[in-house]
Assembly symmetry: C2
Homo-oligomer: 633 residues x 2
């Protein structure tokens, strides 16, 4: 409570140009870290400053930035996450994504806050970061191989089994726009197609080894928060440990919000077959974790022939089970586990992949695609075999897979015949496994998130990670009452703004959102690590700043309020289930989005922070980038 | 850090109708307190809900609301302040003011958070609050008497020397628009003319006795903050203890910002004669304090014949010394001490009184007023005798005093002949003793404060009460750099907005602004008292909400952006001193104010929060009050 600002927080950023092999180091000052922190805001700073509008996301002018946060790699659960950003090949706009595991913490413990990858290698390479030593190494022999094989081979050739590897797979190499990047072959930076960006740079992997403890200004403060988690997680996170993220499937199904058959329905008759509890009883063979975390909510599964699912690829999380399962009408958990393994083997985002296959299934059922298009596959909802085959085909860009590899928006344009109606995407990015018709605030999030439809910028009505559960944590922001999930009035918009700014901060702090921390725990952690006399106010402004930078980036690329929309299907009501007949009001949603713009201090037409809001966020320079966009028009 | 929201904070509000003598009690729920807290925001809620636009501030329809805060009366220094509000007879708009001492804490310890005074007594009365027992008592025998005499008499007739009395004096009785209300005859609710409102209701005093300890959800947390102050004040507040608030006069004079001769100059040749250090060496006989405070920065002075200054009236603070001293060109500290005693005896705001006399002195020197007008007084700058006489005349509404009793704005209208040019006021309220030409951010504050020119809604560039001094504390808000006092750009507006919202929160918390607490100490105190898992974010929103309610009140009374101005004189440069030739740019100030509107989410024409901003502040209902104003036009 009484610590002084030591003026001492420092960090290092690594810049690697793959075209000319130049490696350099930058050391921003403390003010930089306090303003841009890490993750989304830090990435936003560099992308806005260094990318020209209109560049090809898959060309050498794009930059790929990995970034940890100020509190990454500390001795506290949840601090192992990492962020990545670039101009997205999926949205042609702002792209950022986060992943858990150990790689982020390892990077931080190697002394690095971020890596900026520029240019394009002449032939496949990987990067080897051993604390201060950085090396660009040949990866020709790794190109085309399965992710686990590559990881093992890199560890072998570097002679250290503890080397942490982040990498793309075959899908990234083949510039599949829904390709992801994977930490440790199981933790995905899934959204926005960064795998393709990494592939376009011919960078197969980044191997890291670090053994420098992150300096702590006030170790006792960090220990106190860490201890709180250890003392409380067994009660607060019991469900997560037991059945993982898919433990909630029965509840979602009962509420009528389990995305089913390409969002045509909200209930899936086979929901219990794919639920976390069922997994626990059948194919689960272990529980895995991320850096410093005792919760063990990650699944490890094993399935014998003919699926042959190997535990080294972990197991499917809720998003994966939803996307490859209910969304495709598939109730075969073993097939889903296989689909998950294929995605991790080839480096495909499971959400995008499942969504794209579900889209193709609907097109097939509606006669827009035929067996001729699918190469003879009966691409119907519920066909587990077809689902698994299509994952392979997308990764290899084979047949219809080559079209689906572009994501639903581009695929629908190629397919034509009204297929666009069934592409469940926003700004080119597919909807994750959360149904706005039963939690309408989420719809605002899908429309407004700078990354396109994204469940990490969203409101779950009663808030994430809140002390005592439910609304208690949001009270720290002065939000005193829970609201109906179907409410779309100004109070909901207010709650959304609050949660959205906080989520953006989480994407800067790279702290796990599944831990039962309350908001003030993070203030304590930041203060404990840096010595800053900080506050929830300052951290919320970091989040708001991150969002602002991302929206300015999009505006510079030509995005306006017209792009802040959700798919038409969400405005139709379900024909059955608890939400039968209830639809999101088109006018109400339009009004809510307009209210958000004005509440957030955004220009309601350009859908971007006003000059004065940017000044208030201490990024007045970003207004100049907006002017460039205006000139471009 | 881990406490739960107990849902248990409660309070009581006393409502007294002096017309029909009805006394009632209201018990708002916890949500009310968390939203409106106390002071400005609580007062704003009631005034907006219960007053009709356009009422006469000195008529029975006005209401006078005393309010403590959620953390008032706790065992921690700084928690003895109290707020008062009503429609101001000086500005015909929003009025609120705060005072220190012991009365606020006593009221809280009697079990009350606020008192709403309605109507008008048929004959003079006083209110006697003895814990739960409340009585309206006759005050005919006290009417017209000196404040100290009244205080003693009330204590005598109630048979308890520990009864705390807040009261008006002769000036309030006579509806002098610059009359104040006084706690313990020495701590003034000075600004906005609330003394006249209390006088108009024929309420001479409110006597309070309370012996209920304020319940603390987490006593150890409160003790920790309290202990921090005890451990640190001797170093951090040494100057305040030694020489009080006027210890800074030599520094202000050296910087050229000591308001002199009605703001014509920024340096006063007699500055050392009136400085705190000189007071310490000459007339100081004691140091006084407020509730629970060890700092003892209040002055107690004694002066013999012919002044006969009695220590029971304390001694002059900086504002008083500036207003009755340098602003009137008076370097006679004994005369200033006498003027201070007269103001406290009659219940006059020393700032308004000094400013009004200085205005009259300039009018006299410029020939706008003559000896005929002044009743033979040579009303020139530097005439200490004239200053003292005019204080008397204003309190008694005698001769020219009857005109000056209206404040400079109305007096200038009555006097005519261009006198308005010399009325240094904003919205009808006189400038306090802080010179915007040397700290231009203050100019934004004078223009924008809903109370008119007010140093309690202002920015002192490097911030108040900051940990480690200077900018360190503001870092908790993400403000990382000090700015030149002459800077008027967007970064200054940003800093202003931050400090202004915080100051408004201080006026809700009623925590002393002179204590060396940092922002997070107050978060700890609020959490310690209430058990709320609160944050600096939530408290800042309380402050922003308070300001919003006050601005809505003003808009409903017809105020617009055109009224957010500062006196023309401030746009002219000093002819000598360190600021010679430096003037505030008219265009730059206009721009800064417009930037503020947009940054704060205000409609730039009506100069009031937009509907969406009000929704974000959880006071959507206030937008309806704005609509009433629009209809009124």
């Amino acid at each position: 409570m009484t610590e002084k600002t030591p003026g001492g927080y420092t960090g290092k950023i690594l810049r690697v140009n793959l075209s000319n092999k130049k490696i350099s180091v930058e050391k921003p000052d403390e003010k930089f870290y306090r303003r841009y922190f890490g993750g989304t805001a830090l990435i936003g700073y560099y992308l806005l400053k260094e990318l020209k509008p209109g560049i090809d996301p898959l060309g050498p002018d794009n930059k790929l930035i990995f970034s940890s946060g100020v509190i990454t790699g500390i001795p506290c659960a949840g601090s192992g996450r990492n962020g990545v950003g670039s101009k997205s090949p999926l949205t042609n706009g702002w792209g950022d994504s986060q992943a858990g595991g150990f790689w982020g913490a390892e990077l931080k413990r190697a002394g690095w806050d971020a890596i900026i990858i520029e240019g394009k290698a002449a032939s496949p390479v990987y990067l080897w970061i051993n604390n201060d030593k950085v090396e660009i190494r040949d990866a020709s022999h790794l190109w085309g191989k399965a992710t686990k094989e590559v990881e093992t081979q890199i560890q072998d050739e570097l002679g250290d089994k503890n080397v942490r590897v982040t990498q793309i797979g075959l899908a990234g190499e083949k510039l599949v726009r829904i390709a992801c990047i994977l930490n440790d072959t199981t933790h995905a930076y899934g959204r926005n197609g960064h795998g393709a960006v990494m592939g376009s740079k011919r960078l197969r992997a980044i191997a890291v080894r670090g053994n420098q403890a992150v300096p702590l200004a006030n170790p006792e403060k960090v220990r106190e928060v860490s201890r709180w988690l250890v003392d409380n997680y067994k009660v607060l996170s019991a469900g997560m440990t037991a059945h993982g993220t898919s433990g909630g499937i029965p509840g979602l199904n009962a509420a009528g919000i389990l995305p089913t058959r390409n969002f045509q329905e909200g209930q899936f008759e086979g929901y219990m077959d794919i639920a976390g509890e069922t997994m626990t009883k059948t194919i689960l063979v272990g529980r895995d974790n991320c850096y410093a975390c005792p919760i063990n909510d990650k699944r490890v599964v094993k399935v014998g022939a003919p699926y042959n699912v190997d535990p080294v690829y972990g197991g499917p999380e809720y998003e994966t089970i939803g996307a490859l399962g209910s969304l495709c009408g598939v109730n075969d958990l073993k097939a889903i586990a296989k689909g998950n393994q294929l995605c991790n083997t080839y480096g495909l985002d499971t959400i995008e992949t499942g969504s794209t296959i579900a889209f193709a299934m609907e097109c097939f059922e509606r006669g827009i695609l035929s067996k001729k298009d699918t190469g003879g596959i009966e691409l119907k909802f519920g066909n587990a075999e077809a689902m698994m085959t299509m994952v392979e085909k997308i990764a290899r860009r084979e047949g219809l897979g080559d079209i689906l590899a572009e994501g639903t928006k581009r695929a629908a344009e190629r397919i034509g015949h009204g297929a666009a109606e069934y592409a469940m995407q926003v700004k080119g990015q597919e909807l994750p496994m959360h149904e706005p018709r039963g939690k309408v605030g989420l719809g605002i999030g899908y429309a407004i998130s700078p990354t396109g439809a994204d469940h990490c910028h969203n409101i779950h009505d009663t808030g994430f990670a809140v002390e005592g559960g439910g609304i208690a944590g949001l009270r720290a922001f002065g939000i005193q009452e829970p609201l109906s999930p179907l409410d779309l009035g100004p109070a909901k918009v207010r709650m959304f703004q609050c949660v959205s700014n906080w989520q953006h901060f989480q994407n800067c702090a790279l702290m796990c959102m599944f831990l039962p921390f309350n908001y003030n725990h993070l203030v304590e952690l930041v203060s404990g690590v840096t010595g800053w006399n900080t506050s929830l106010y300052e951290l919320m402004k970091v989040g708001e700043r991150a969002l602002a930078l991302a929206r300015v980036f999009n505006a510079r690329e030509g995005y306006t309020a017209k792009d802040d929309i959700i798919p038409d299907r969400l405005y139709t009501a379900f024909k059955s289930g608890p939400l039968k007949g209830k639809k999101i009001g088109r006018g109400a949603m339009r009004q809510a989005i307009q209210t958000y713009y004005r509440m957030a201090g955004w220009d309601p037409k350009r859908a971007v922070p006003t000059k004065e809001k940017l000044q208030e966020l201490d990024i007045a320079w970003a207004a100049e980038e907006l002017d460039k966009a205006a000139l471009k028009k």
